[in-house]
């Protein structure tokens, strides 16, 4: 039987038009991209983690579910300052339990959203953001700017579903009604397909944004701007003219803004540029979020505790200070004594100094497939795949909540979903703590 309108639990596009047909051990997927299809096949994959594992005498061995839950709870309960890291390809409902557990334990709650668009979120706090839903951009945008992003390789259906190729109400000829600018130091495949590629020098986004703002104010940037950014002033003028003369412009920033030197100040300036462009035409800006629910952590952490990421509960109330209470920093500075990782591979995707420390402290994780993080963990709990095997909520790249329903059920008798697993751990932690 074909099940329609399944939500894809991979990138920030959270595509909700996936069709799947599950027959025995065969799964046919329609409408998904290469990344999406690969993850859907995990439902029937031979390498799926199907049993809990615990470390005994240096080696991971099979364990009962109860034993693994008990060991996870003890790691957390015995820690003076645990890091609870919430991955982004699971539901906000599961993340919420993790944040509450961090509050209960006086630990730190953080997520992929910090190493993804944390700096962009800080930029929003500094400058505010003129935004729009993906549907607005699809219907109206005649200019799309990919700044420091390469959607053809990181969010493969963004151009075809939301931003460039689809026919919108006011963009009925699709790609023919739209112009695309790509700002990237590398001639990426997205840059090759853009109408204008601004190939700036690495780490000079702030300088280029400043020069564009100067031009927007009717002044000429200092000539050294060309040497610093590697972009001629005539090219900057051409780009700005395209931006001012469009009817509806949309900028999608990627990690080229958030991860480069300048960080949140790059983002802040990009938001300010967009605010000022609204004196000339309609312009919006948003982030291309890497995972299907990376925006979700920011949303629930903000409305539950007032801060979007990097929450420290050591004093019993939430504190926020990026660079001090954030996951990379507390691991690099060896400022936590245990870690719990939900659906994320920190050992692969954090700098070496952080991974080295993770290998030295007690770690429990929930995952669906073997990876470097499961290799260094003391407890590995099998993960349930959200949007395929259980229901829940993701927040899409434009912060729109998407409720998803499964097409099959959890393959495990001991847990229905990652929310269920998180609740079981929290209950056990409370019991150990005598509360």
């Amino acid at each position: 039987m074909v099940t329609k309108n399944i939500v894809c639990p991979v990138c920030g596009a959270s595509c909700d038009d996936i069709q799947v047909e599950l027959e025995g051990q065969g799964l046919t997927v329609r409408n998904a991209c290469k990344m999406g299809n690969a993850k859907f096949q995990e439902v029937v994959s031979p390498h799926r983690i199907k049993e809990p594992l615990v470390r005994v005498d240096g080696d991971l061995r099979r364990a009962s579910w109860d034993e693994a839950i008990e060991m996870t709870a003890r790691i957390l309960a015995n820690s003076e300052r645990p890091l609870l890291f919430m991955g982004s390809e699971t539901s906000t409902e599961a993340m919420e339990v993790g944040i509450h557990m961090a509050e209960f334990l006086g630990g730190i709650a953080d997520s992929n959203s910090t190493v993804c668009h944390g700096p962009t979120t800080m930029g929003i706090q500094e400058a505010g953001r003129v935004g729009a839903t993906a549907g607005q951009s699809k219907s109206r945008a005649d200019l799309t700017v990919y700044w420091g992003s390469n959607p053809l390789e990181s969010m493969p259906r963004h151009m075809s579903r939301y931003a460039v190729y689809p026919r919108g109400y006011w963009t009925q000829r699709g790609r023919f009604d739209r112009t695309v600018i790509c700002v990237d130091p590398r001639r990426s495949i997205t840059a090759e397909n853009a109408d204008l590629h601004i190939q700036l020098n690495p780490n000079t986004d702030y300088e280029l944004l400043s020069a564009l703002l100067t031009l927007l104010h009717g002044k000429r940037p200092h000539q050294t701007a060309e040497e610093v950014t590697g972009v001629s002033i005539s090219e900057m003028e051409k780009m700005l003219d395209m931006m001012k003369s469009c009817s509806f412009g949309a900028i999608y920033v990627g990690l080229g803004i958030a991860s480069s030197y300048g960080k949140h100040r790059n983002a802040e300036l990009a938001f300010n540029l967009v605010k000022e462009l609204n004196s000339h035409t309609k312009f919006v800006i948003g982030a291309l979020r890497g995972h299907c629910n990376v925006a979700g952590f920011n949303q629930i952490a903000s409305y539950l505790y007032g801060f979007p990421f990097g929450l420290d509960f050591a004093r019993g109330y939430p504190r926020y200070n990026p660079g001090e209470y954030t996951a990379v920093d507390v691991l690099r500075d060896r400022d936590v004594d245990a870690a719990f990782i939900l659906s994320a591979d920190l050992v692969s995707h954090f700098p070496a100094a952080c991974s080295e420390y993770l290998a030295q402290i007690p770690v429990a994780c929930i995952d669906i497939a073997p990876c470097p993080t499961t290799m260094i963990s003391d407890v590995v709990l099998p993960g349930v795949i959200d949007a395929m095997e259980c229901d829940g909520t993701f927040y899409r790249l434009d912060d729109v909540p998407i409720y998803f329903q499964p097409f099959t059920s959890s393959p495990f008798s001991f847990t229905e979903s990652n929310v269920d697993t998180m609740n079981q751990i929290f209950k056990r932690v409370k019991r150990i703590k005598g509360k």
């Binding site: 991979v10 290469k34 990344m35 999406g36 299809n37 690969a38 993850k39 994959s45 390498h47 799926r48 240096g58 953080d110 190493v115 993804c116 944390g118 700096p119 390469n150 390789e153 990181s154 493969p156 130091p185 590398r186 001639r187 690495p202 780490n203 590697g230 990690l255 080229g256 958030a258 991860s259 480069s260 030197y261 960080k263 949140h264 990421f309 990097g310 990026p322 660079g323 954030t326 996951a327 990379v328 690099r332 050992v347 995707h349 954090f350 700098p351 070496a352 100094a353 952080c354 991974s355 030295q360 007690p362 669906i368 497939a369 073997p370 990876c371 470097p372 290799m375 260094i376 003391d378």
Partner: protein
């Protein structure tokens, strides 16, 4: 030629396909991600090495396959986001919580050492020294 380059890390569609498909411990993943893309002229000036050793400012290093392409300007290198590139990403977050995934200065030099798989690299670099 040996020199300091600016490291750009990011997605490739095959890296995404393999990572999302739970294939991080496979040879395919190593072939796709344990690579360093260089500006073609820089690559030729270095003697077109099969493998290079990339070293970060804080002294971490990793050996990966090298190739030259026309996508980058001189002085820049690109590595797909994966365990190999993140060994040499600068862990400084500039009070933002996010490390320098793009724009970390690294040293790149030809190497005759073997390229390790994700499993081998994890075992070598992150040897378990569990406390408690």
């Amino acid at each position: 030629m040996t020199g300091v380059f600016l490291l750009n890390t990011g997605s490739t569609i095959e890296e995404g396909r393999l990572a999302k498909g739970g294939s991080k411990l496979t040879d395919d993943y190593t072939r796709e991600c344990a690579v360093c893309e260089m500006n073609l002229a820089d690559f030729l000036a270095m003697g077109s090495p099969d493998r290079v050793k990339v070293t970060s400012r804080d002294g971490h290093s990793v050996v990966v396959y090298a190739y030259g392409a026309e996508k980058l300007s001189s002085g820049q290198v690109f590595m797909p986001r994966a365990i190999w590139s993140n060994v040499v990403v600068d862990p400084e977050t500039f009070s933002s919580g996010s490390p320098l995934y793009k724009g970390s200065p690294v040293k790149v030099e030809p190497s005759n050492d073997m390229v390790l798989s994700a499993e081998e690299l994890t075992a070598k670099l992150y040897k378990l020294q569990k406390r408690g």
